[in-house]
Symmetry: C2
Subunit: 436 residues, 2 copies
């Protein structure tokens, strides 16, 4: 493993001077220039089946109509080996470039993004949520355990737990506030009703491509070979339910009512220009050997700027744009790398499958305005957040829309983005009639 | 909901006098008399595709060859409404009875069970593990928190967490001991290597049939309508890994390397004669209204006898039968009913899908020899278990085979069983070379 792996190589597809014959892809503000080429699933109105597309400017290229693939099965595409994946990216880049001979044929394969429904990017078999945001873990830990915010295992074990795959929803789909049990401070019996401390969590999603066989761990040197790409991910959380239910086996109903995934998978190849060395703060223990490699020390981190925007129902009614309430960066927020997550998840023999999803955990920065959840931004609900127009929030209200955004910007590279990850909170369903 | 639901009705299919033209089904010792009729998936050697079968004595009835269904998709069969499910059971019972006109045609649809491979009974989308065995929770809690074994939420919340679906294996498939991190007592750095406290867990699996829509909770009065049936379930656990990793988000690698499911799903209909009232110990809080109903108070519990057997490699070599190391009963072990699990899981809006699996959690009795795990039987490894032939065990060794069994026996009813749930522990894989 001395040669640079394909997904870390900077090649002609990353050339910042490249322009596309799809004019909107050349807009400096687009998330989807020709250097990005993220994969997703879409369908047109009255069209039942999902199809595989690539985002280019404000258009979607239908990969089957462009005769690049002959399947609509994203999970099958995700298991491609690095070489054919790289070849597909190269074909897409060359075909979409200004002056390409494919322009006439591929123009027929374009659909305006505004006219399609975007779904979950793939069928997610198993979903795991990690907890790699050390500033989030520290701030939240301080709320629960002021003297002992980070538990002793945090710097040794990439903490994670299994999540619920059935309630993953694509960006743009809304969800109902959950009902549930909580134990109010000082009470002797739990209350039941709509969640009173509903929160978002700013995360990235990691989608697995190539599988491993059960009982055969993936060594860290080969871990990224199993990663297809990244999305945005909002792990909605019912904090009052969570505080009451989570001992001793972890969060359950507080997390499984809905989680929103953005539709476009930004590949590791597209992220190659934004890699940087991964280091630990001085004095921290070195990772155990199965979590350490020269390659990830050299380029394990990815510089991805992250933002959270909030738009209340009143703001929407006034035509007021969503307000940015937080920003942070993946590289400085994460205590563990993606390769470490893959190596750790499989070290006991667990098998990963194409389409499996890892959430990173909330990616907060250390400073003011860098909390990836309301819990952090409002210090557990003690300090209300002021919004433009005079409203305030501690936790989320019905009608609130949360939008996550991500963008990679770096000198010498064309900026790329992830598109939006957005859902609106709907009122809780009425309570079931009391039992008789 | 005043009428008795179909799956609780005792009808002609439960008549203990019924005999089958499949002679082995009339053996008093069989788990699969004509009163049982559990569903599973099987394939013959060199036959790639799974087919749906019903166990009858030592035979499997191929449902498609018997022209009872036209699909091999178990998850589709599981979503049947109560009426067609009941009709299918009646057709099976009548066709397999002594003197049935179907005998000639259906004889062609029988395959000896010894000649087929039995798979997972369905495709499991999401798997949730509960913790409803109160004697297990108390004993294990005492090992971790001697003064405070049961946490304050235990009698209010059916504690559960999400598990890993990809590493579910069918009975008869073996698995490798996991490698992992643990923190030995008194150490300042974790060790990495093969698990040293490998354990089994005696559980039942609950398989979901009918789905619910996300955001629409299932009221407890209708909860059992969404349950297809029960299996045996062994939730293998790496106790040393678990103790080090589980704070604050719950078990992860300690549980996701393998979990064994028995192949035959015993339906709620077959279990109707073994229902009994569900009561809570005097002085315990009443369940919240969403977890309470008259019907479950009257018949929420199911009388299922449970056993754990262990056979070491040396015992197998000597031809010595597995030794029973524990027994208990579902009705007395469980603090929550299946209906309560369904109602709780969906109360926040989480959607269940056909084929979803709930593990009950370890179903231990309160007494000596009633622990459903080695952790309990050996008091955390402090007191070795003596096996016939002179061997002893604290935790499981390589080559050990654990077999779970379940059987319902009651005056006035024909006894039915679940078949075996069995796997053998294989040695851990070699450690990956150290990183450079």
């Amino acid at each position: 493993m001395n040669a640079t792996p394909l997904w870390l190589q900077i090649d002609e597809t990353h050339d910042p001077a490249l322009q596309s014959w799809v004019a909107s892809a050349n807009d400096p503000a687009t998330d989807f220039p020709i250097q990005n080429l993220p994969f997703g699933r879409f369908r047109e109105p009255r069209d039942g089946d999902w199809r595989i597309g690539v985002a280019i400017g404000d258009q979607v290229l239908d990969l089957r109509r462009a005769r690049l693939i002959d399947s609509a099965d994203m999970n099958r595409l995700m298991r491609l080996a690095p070489e054919p994946r790289h070849a597909l990216r190269l074909a897409l880049s060359r075909g979409l470039r200004e002056g390409s001979a494919s322009q006439a044929a591929w123009t027929e394969a374009l659909v305006p993004m505004s006219q399609v429904e975007l779904g979950l990017p793939c069928q997610v078999g198993d979903y795991t949520d990690f907890y790699i945001g050390i500033h989030h873990a520290t701030r939240v830990g301080r709320l629960f355990r002021p003297d002992n915010p980070l538990l002793p295992n945090y710097k040794w074990v990439p903490i994670g737990y299994h999540g619920r795959a059935s309630s993953l929803i694509p960006s743009g789909q809304d969800f109902r506030r959950p009902n549930g049990q909580s134990m109010p401070p000082g009470a002797t019996e739990p209350r039941f009703g709509p969640c009173q401390r509903l929160d978002h969590e700013l995360e990235l999603g990691v989608l697995i491509g190539r599988p491993n066989v059960m009982g055969e761990p993936i060594p860290i040197e080969r871990a990224e070979e199993h990663v297809f790409g990244l999305t945005l991910f909002n792990d909605w959380s019912a904090r009052d339910v969570q505080a009451w239910e989570y001992q001793p086996l972890g969060p359950f109903l507080s997390k499984n009512f809905a989680s929103t995934l953005s539709p476009w998978v930004v590949t590791l190849e597209a992220l190659a220009p934004f890699r940087q060395p991964f280091t630990r703060p001085e004095g921290d223990p070195a990772p155990l050997p199965y979590l350490d490699s020269a390659q990830q020390r050299a380029s394990g981190a990815i510089d991805i700027g992250l933002e959270v925007h909030l738009q209340t129902a009143a703001m929407a009614e006034r035509g007021q744009a969503p307000a940015r309430i937080a920003r942070s960066n993946f590289a400085s927020a994460a205590y563990w790398t993606i390769a470490q997550l893959v190596a750790h998840h499989t070290v006991g023999g667990c098998n990963l499958q194409p389409g499996d999803l890892f959430g990173t955990g909330t990616l907060s920065g250390p400073g003011e305005g860098e909390g990836g959840s309301m819990l952090e931004l409002t210090e557990g609900g003690k300090r209300a957040l002021e919004l433009p127009g005079g409203e305030t929030r501690t936790f989320l209200q019905d009608g609130d829309t949360v939008i996550l955004k991500a963008r990679c910007e770096r000198a010498g590279a064309r900026a790329i983005g992830f598109g939006d990850c957005r859902s609106t909170v709907l009122p809780a369903p009425g309570l079931a009639p009391a039992a008789v």
